[in-house]
Symmetry: C2
Subunit: 357 residues, 2 copies
DNA sequence: ACGCATTGGTTAAACGATTAATCCAATCCG
DNA sequence: CGGATTGGATTAATCGTTTAACCAATGCGT
C-alpha cells in the first residue's frame, strides 16, 4: 500500500552522502562521535534536502511522543482561550505539541477524554478539573491547575489573595456592605475567592453571598438578580467571582438606572476579553496565565524526565500559587456619601424617570 | 536506555496465546483471514490484558498519524471556545486527535505554526486564517474556515445571510437609520456581514459604518464610541458585527442614559458566552459551529483518504456555507416613535438627570 | 485420484530513527 | 616497539504494527 515514500529520511541522506545512517543520526543529534567537519557537511545537506525527522519513528524507538495533553472541563469556558494560549506557548517553547480534549461536562467524559489522550501516547497531562472532581491519576504524569486548596493541585492563581485584594480595594473606597456574586458554591476556585474576600473585610464591613446558579434553578435561566433591591437595602458594592457575573450585574444595574460607579461599584475576576472595553470598564483581578502555564509545563516536563514516564504521578511544583493582579478600572469608585445607608433613594423611581423622561 | 517495556503489545498477546503476531493483528483489525472462533478468543484476551495499540508504531508503519491540526489566528479570540469544542468533537468522533497551534498574530508565526504541526505528522489541517491572509497550502490537505467569499475557503457560516437577517429584523421593527459597528474593514468575515446588512436594507433605510479599530487609532484604545451623539443624529439601531462590539455599544448607551431597546436597538453577531445573560440580553446571529465543524472535518478526512495524503490540497466541501440563525432577545425592539427624527431629545441631559436625581 | 481453489494461518519484510556494540585505524606512552 | 587508548565511523538490533507473500491442509469437481 505505501507506494512511494518520498520525504527525505536518514537513510536517504546517508546514501546520498556515502555514510551510514547512524552517523547521520549522530551528527544531527550531536550525540555520538562524529568529526566536526563531517557533521557540518551532513547538517548542511540535510537542511537543503528539507529533512524533517519522523516523529512517529522517534516516538516508537524512544517511547517519547513529544506531545502533552490538555484536558478542559468545558472548552466553552470563557477563560479557556487565555489558558490554552499560554499552555500552547509554554509547551511549544519546550518543543512539545499540545493535544486537546474537552471533557464535556460530566466526569465519565473526563475520564474518557483522558484515556483517549493516553492512548495517543501523550507523555503528560495538564488538567483543569471540572468543579470539585479529584483527578484519579492516569497512567502518566498529571499537572492539575485548579486552586491551591484543591488536594493534588500543581499550580494555580492565588485566588484567595485575589479576593483579599478586591476586599482591600473596596475597603479603601469606603464600602461597608458588599454583595458577593458567585455562580456555584461547589467550585473550589469560587470558594477560595469568597474566602479571600471575607478575610480581607475590615471589622466594620459586612458581606453576604448570592449564588446565581441556585437562584436560576428557582427563578429560571437568565432571570434578573434583583440587584436594584440590594442597592435599596444598602449594598454599595458588588463583588462578582467572575467577570461574566460582574458583567451581568453591571448591565442589570445600568438598566435599572443605577450609575456605576457613582452609585454602586462592581468588580470581577479573570479580566475576560470584554472587561476592558465595556463602559464603564471593569475593575477586576487577573491571573498571570503565562506564569501559571510556565510552571505547570516545566514541572510536568521535569517529572516526565525524572520518572520512567510510566506510573501516573501527580506533579507538584515549588511555586504552587501565582499572585493575581488587581486591575483598577472605571467600575469601582468611592462610595456615594448620599447612598451610604439603606433606602436613601428609590432606584426604581430613578429608573422609571430615566425611561420616561 | 529503555529498560523494561511493559505495556501489553501484539507480540505479548501472541506468545501468550500461542499464535503469531500477524494473526493477532488480523483478528483485532478484522482484515486478514482468521477463524471467527480464534478471533473472538484473541479479542477477549487482548481486552483483559488491557491492550492498547501503539499509535506511534501504527503511524510509522501506515504513515497515518490519526491526528489533525487546528490553527487559529489568535486563540484568545472569544469565538474560539465554541469552534475548538466543535472541531474537537467532530474529530474525536471520527477517531482523530486534535493538535492545536496558535498563530499569534503575524503571518510568519502562522507559517511556523503550520510547519510545527506538519512536522508532528498531522494528516490534515483546519485553519481559521488571520484576517485576509491567503493560505499557501502546506504539505498536507487543508480545510479553511473563514467566509464563503474568501478564495480557497472550505466551509463557513453564511455571514452574508446573517447580515441580511439582521437587516430584515431591524426593518420589521421600523428602524430607518442604522449604524453598523465593525472592528476592522480588512476582515473578510466582517465585510461579508456588512455586505449582507446593506443588501437587506429597504429603500427607505440608510446605514453608515463605524470601524472601531480605526477610531481607536486616533482616539486611543478603549475610547468612547460617541454613540449618544449618533442617537441625537437620528440613529435608532446599532448593528455590531460582533457581540463584543455590541456589548461595548450597549454598555456605552446604557451609561449615557439611553435605554435599550426602548430608545435604541443593539444587535450583534456570534452569540458569545455573555450574550444571553446580560441585561438586556443581546439579539444576535449565531453560527452553527457543530455543522461547520462536521463539514470541515468530514471533507478534510475525505480528501485525506482520497489523496496519497501528500501534496497540499485545499479541501473543498459540497456545502460551503452554513446558514446562521437569528436569535431575537431583548436588546432589539420597535423603534421609539418619539425618537424617529434627529435631536428629539437630549440624551446627555437625560443622563445627567439620572446621575443627579 | 488429481489438479485447483479456498480456508486459516505463519513468515518476514518493511516503516524511520536511536543506540549499544563493534571495528579499524591512528596515536600515545612507558 | 607493543599494548592501551581514543577518535571516527559502521553494524545491527530494536521499538510495535501492518501487510504482502507464502504454505499447509481441506474440500470439490471431473
Amino acid at each position: 500500500m505505501p507506494p512511494a515514500r518520498q520525504g527525505p529520511n536518514l537513510s536517504r541522506i546517508a546514501t546520498s552522502l556515502g555514510v551510514s545512517v547512524a552517523t547521520v543520526s549522530n551528527a544531527l543529534s550531536g550525540k555520538g562521535r562524529v568529526s566536526e567537519q563531517l557533521a557540518e557537511r551532513i547538517r548542511e545537506h540535510a537542511a537543503e534536502m528539507g529533512y524533517v525527522p519522523s516523529q512517529a519513528a522517534r516516538a516508537l524507538r524512544t517511547g517519547r511522543s513529544g506531545v502533552i495533553g490538555l484536558v478542559l472541563p468545558d472548552i466553552a469556558n470563557p477563560l479557556f482561550p487565555k489558558l490554552a494560549q499560554a499552555i500552547e506557548f509554554a509547551a511549544t517553547s519546550a518543543g512539545y505539541g499540545v493535544l486537546i480534549a474537552d471533557s464535556r461536562g460530566n466526569i465519565t467524559a473526563q475520564t474518557e477524554a483522558i484515556n483517549r489522550l493516553v492512548e495517543r501516547g501523550v507523555e503528560g497531562l495538564v488538567i483543569v478539573p471540572r468543579r470539585a472532581t479529584r483527578i484519579s491519576a492516569a497512567s502518566c504524569p498529571v499537572a492539575v491547575i485548579d486552586t491551591a486548596s484543591t488536594p493534588g493541585n500543581t499550580v494555580a492563581a492565588d485566588h484567595w489573595q485575589g479576593g483579599r485584594d478586591i476586599a482591600n480595594h473596596l475597603a479603601e473606597l469606603g464600602h461597608k456592605r458588599i454583595l458577593v456574586i458567585g455562580n456555584n458554591p461547589e467550585s473550589n476556585v469560587q470558594n477560595d475567592r469568597v474566602g479571600g474576600i471575607r478575610s480581607g473585610l475590615r471589622p466594620d464591613m459586612h458581606s453576604s453571598t448570592l449564588w446565581v446558579e441556585r437562584l436560576e434553578r428557582e427563578s429560571g435561566m437568565g432571570c434578573t438578580l434583583g440587584l436594584a433591591e440590594k442597592v435599596r437595602e444598602g449594598y454599595t458594592a458588588f463583588a462578582a467571582l467572575s467577570d461574566l457575573q460582574a458583567l451581568r450585574a453591571l448591565t442589570e444595574l445600568q438598566r435599572d438606572g443605577i450609575v456605576v460607579p457613582d452609585m454602586a461599584s462592581v468588580t470581577g475576576f479573570d479580566d475576560l476579553i470584554f472587561s476592558p472595553v465595556i463602559t464603564p470598564s471593569l475593575t477586576t483581578v487577573a491571573m498571570d496565565m503565562a506564569t501559571i502555564a510556565d510552571v505547570a509545563i516545566s514541572s510536568l516536563l521535569k517529572t516526565i524526565q525524572a520518572s520512567g514516564s510510566r506510573e501516573g504521578v501527580l506533579v507538584s511544583a515549588d511555586t504552587d500559587r501565582v499572585p493575581m493582579q488587581l486591575i483598577v478600572r472605571q467600575s469601582s469608585g468611592p462610595v456615594d456619601p448620599t447612598n451610604g445607608g439603606p433606602t436613601t433613594v428609590d432606584p426604581a423611581k430613578r429608573a422609571s424617570q430615566t425611561e420616561n423622561s
